[in-house]
Symmetry: C2
Subunit: 232 residues, 2 copies
DNA sequence: GGCGTCTTGACACCGAGTGTCAATCGAGGC
DNA sequence: GCCTCGATTGACACTCGGTGTCAAGACGCC
């Protein structure tokens, strides 16, 4: 559940404690439910003190959400690696797909990922923290997109929208995947989702960083007095 | 900061306490920062006990987020009221626009809304709760869309995607609006945002509730082995 | 005036999260 | 081998968010 070989021997122990902690947490949380497990319990199971728990994880939710946290930076770096000529829809779909596969695939039991995702999605507190993370990802992705397309990050709406749409797709796929107990194929789901949102992703506005603003307002700005508004 | 006339006289007092509470909370939170204010403090300022605070609001974040909470149901009911022939992009844009205007407009000081939004967006804990609310809105909106388009709510990706895109647009607009200190015109921002996402919103899939599934997969499902994946 | 309902404050309680400090352990330097 | 320095840890105390409980007061009804 970790990653690379820690170079030093001293901090291998650290890695070990961390693993022990998440192992215990995941076990207990999945078994007894989120609220029914105290941090003292998790720490005791892992053989450390409560105080030590907080030296490794910022909160009870963090232990679980951590598992998917790398995916955010994964998507971004993957996007940065895509060729510049690639249309956003393709680059984004690929980035999401690769990161998701990298998370769900790693050697051995891929159903561990499924279990974690299901736990997150059906536990309000965990889902909330997950949304928080996603929100950060969105900002990162938007920045990356802005740079990629040479748009002013704070002037153009497009990067935020595109990042949001990509993550919306990601979220919908995740939900469907977890809801089907992993039966449905993530690859196909991602494809379908991105096929839907692609028309919007590839309609990149012309407002570049140089020119102040494009002329794409065929809009129909209502006249401040909506038809049947009224109440509340 | 409330809405209609409470029919009974007995519960007018209740409304009063609620107002007093949110008033005190908003004042203090905006002044001293979210973490620097305790609930005891808020309650004391409002002249009630801490226990009473929790009889009116579920959490410290709730007092603030409550202000935007009605917007969710507002968007949904507004959407339900739109004519069925209207394409999703138009119906959604309108629903979002009306609800947003209803929130930011109400008689008198509209900058109160601005202040609240800014507080929420720049306070992580508040933003988190706000995202949580939005997540609920998304589910509601998706359900409404599925019904509206006669799609199977759990089979089709489209409703979730469309709802997500609409809220993404909403969020981007909110962010820009608050970032510009209310200078930018929400109506115009919404128009621009929805102009971008409209192509995706109006590409409604053909998979109706009756027919099992449409034939719209021109997709290009990668072959399980992405180009340059490998590490994290 | 008596009675049921609703609201409140006081109190005790739990758990998350943090600051502090002394003890411990491992890695060199001598 | 010993000593010292730094990192890690456990124990303790503390704050604060949030909840359950209960007795007391306010209000409406008969």
């Amino acid at each position: 559940m970790s990653s690379d070989i820690p170079v030093s021997m001293a901090q291998r122990k650290r890695q070990l404690v961390s693993d022990e902690l998440s192992e215990a947490a995941l076990q207990l949380l999945a078994l007894k439910g989120f609220d029914a497990v105290t941090i003292d319990e998790i720490a005791a199971t892992a053989g450390v003190s409560k105080r030590t728990f907080f030296r490794y994880f910022a909160s009870k939710e963090d232990v679980v959400v951590q598992f998917l946290a790398d995916m955010g930076t994964g998507i971004r770096t993957e996007l940065a690696a895509r060729p510049a000529e690639e249309p956003p829809s393709v680059a984004l779909r690929h980035s999401v797909w690769v990161s998701m596969a990298a998370c769900a695939a790693p050697p051995g039991h891929s159903d561990r990922a499924l279990r974690v995702v299901q736990l997150i999605l059906r536990t309000p507190a965990l889902r909330a923290r997950f949304l928080e993370r996603q929100d950060q990802w969105r900002g990162d992705l938007a920045a990356e997109l802005a740079q990629r397309l040479d748009l002013a990050p704070d002037t153009a709406l497009y990067p935020q929208l595109a990042a949001g749409m990509a993550l919306t797709a990601f979220d919908a796929v995740l939900q469907r995947w977890s809801g089907s107990d992993g039966v449905e194929d993530p690859a196909e789901l991602i494809d379908r989702a991105f096929t839907t949102i692609a028309p919007a992703l590839d309609a990149v506005p012309s407002e570049s960083v140089g020119t102040g603003k494009g002329g794409n307002e065929a809009s129909l700005s209502e006249r401040r007095q909506p038809p049947g508004a009224g109440s509340r």
